[in-house]
Amino acid sequence: MTDGFLDNAFFRNIYCNLASSGSDRCAGGGPFGDGLLPPGWEWLAFLVTAFVTVFVVVNGALMAVNLYIWGERRLLGRLQGRLGPNRWGPFGLLTPIADLIKVLSKEDIVPAAADRLVYSLAPVLLVVPVLLAFAVIPFGSSTWAANLNVGVLYLIAVLSVESFAPITAAWGSQNRYAMFGGLRAVALLVSYELPLVLSLIGVLMIAGSLSLVDIVNAQDVPFALVQPLGFLVFLIGSVAEIQRAPFDLSEAESELVGGYHTDYSGIRWGLFQAGEFMSTMVSGAIIATVFLSGWRGFDFLPSHAWFFIKFAGVLFVMTWIRATLPRLRIDQITSFAWKGLLPLAAVNLLASAVLSLIWPRPSVGELWAMAAVNVVVAAAAIYVLGQFGPKPGERPRPAVAPALGATGREGAA
């Protein structure tokens, strides 16, 4: 086993305090003395370290999601000319806590027709991948739970498991609304996964690594500038992947009641909500890391603050989108993915491939040159693609169902 995990200061501190100093893995012991455990008990130190790390990451994520829900509700309120939650606790900060208490103490209904196993599995399938995704995100210059050498791929793989949740919930609850929501969700997720992954490949070619830490280190110029098209596609694609407005048609409340979680109540529904908000946070963190140069910034603020600023900025934009745009139909959404985002991602991929052939290991100046070329490419690609779509003000002709065509015109001459 490689000892890459000891690069992490947090890991190292815990492990080396526990493990014997005779171990060659942490020469010099931990910062607070060494070797609480006798030699030969390194496995226990390893387990404890792993457990503590997982504990910190999971609970940190769960606390952060409370904060984020509060922030989103306040921000939505401001964007809609309201005040937002402000009664319970200072600035309404305790409102999500109250939601948590209420949801925990609410009756947990399992419908009689539901498939109990599948029904109970669905919230877990939503929450666990998101929590797993938090593991590789670098929150600061040396703060991460794991630095995988396939970090980006890991993130995408883990988050793709998440698309099981809607369909499992839909099937498990045996509800028609849920079934419609689940089918829509899967159509949406399968459509947007492709442009999402393709738009990342340009970044990987420039950074030359799949590790998120390496990608941040390679961003002497933020990749949002170097890869404007990829950034755009990834932003739209990730908003679609987490199924927020305007892509929230899978839980469209005005038509499908609650979509795939219609029949969930109590803490299971709470898990769904928490999972959705956490996946929003993960998406924001990925965008901040991969495209906005993560923790890097100027020296007057610590790296964690820079990460947090970018992260919050991305979340602000996502909330802004949610408050602004109306919901789209399923055919509009899928055709936008296949006819709009996929060609754009392919153009981005092609341009990045050519550019990374010209400048294999780009310096800062070369990165700026790439940015200039790519901005032109992005503008041209979007303009050309726009020529194929419907013009502004042009409406698609509504399709007449053939069965209605005969009887619908009865008596109309």
Partner: protein, 215 residues
């Protein structure tokens, strides 16, 4: 005293048991939807085995493609099929015999491959082969010996300090990419053509069904 390798052993056996159990459930459970969920579970377990073999790239791709895409499509298809939870009736003795023969053949093939493979790296590391152990811990780079095919690995000092710290098996991604584009490019492209043909065929079938079979 428990070594860290013992933990890895425990994890291996757990994951392997999970994979086998999930696979058995796939073929025994009557509900097709649940069967497809178990299929996804066995894919995840296979990815876990890849992680234990330190093929993280392969594991991530396994989860991404098999769990995230193929299983989802299977589930999606299952939901559009009638009579899901009742299970389908058995196809008679012919299918049972054919299935049994196919299963036995596959098992034989896998056993043959398992017995005749050179399980060089990990076994020898465990057995104390100092060359492999050195390669794994990053002291030496493992390379195929050009002259003598019986010797798997020769000592080549690692010049890259980053690599030396992590060991040589870190950058499997690059090696895989090189293999795909250089050594196995023909097979790679043939598979691509087969996939393209399947795609076009599916498209033709779908369109024909919609236009009343005329196209």
């Amino acid at each position: 005293m428990i070594e860290r390798s013992a933990i890895i052993d425990i994890v291996f056996w757990a994951v392997a048991a999970l994979a086998i159990a999930a696979s058995v459930m796939v073929v025994t459970v009557r509900d097709v939807f649940k069967a497809s969920l178990f299929l996804a579970g066995s894919f995840v377990a296979a990815a876990g085995l890849y992680v234990l073999l330190r093929a993280e790239f392969l594991a991530a791709v396994q989860v991404l493609i098999y769990v995230g895409a193929i299983s989802i499509l299977i589930v999606f298809t299952v939901m559009l099929v009638r009579q899901v939870s009742g299970g389908n009736r058995s196809g008679g003795p012919f299918f049972a015999i054919a299935g049994g023969v196919a299963a036995v053949l596959v098992a034989l093939a896998i056993s043959y491959a398992a017995v005749n493979s050179k399980w060089s790296d990990l076994d020898r590391a465990a057995a104390g082969d100092e060359r492999v152990a050195a390669a794994l811990t990053g002291e030496y780079q493992a390379q195929q010996s050009p002259g003598n095919p019986d010797v798997d690995l020769v000592k080549v000092p690692i010049d890259d300090p980053e690599k030396a710290r992590h060991g040589v098996f870190e950058r499997t991604t690059n090696q895989l990419g090189t293999m795909f584009i250089r050594d196995y490019v023909l097979a790679f492209e043939i598979i691509s053509i087969v996939l393209l043909a399947a795609l076009i065929g599916a498209l033709a079938i779908a369109r024909g069904a919609r236009d009343g079979g005329t196209s």
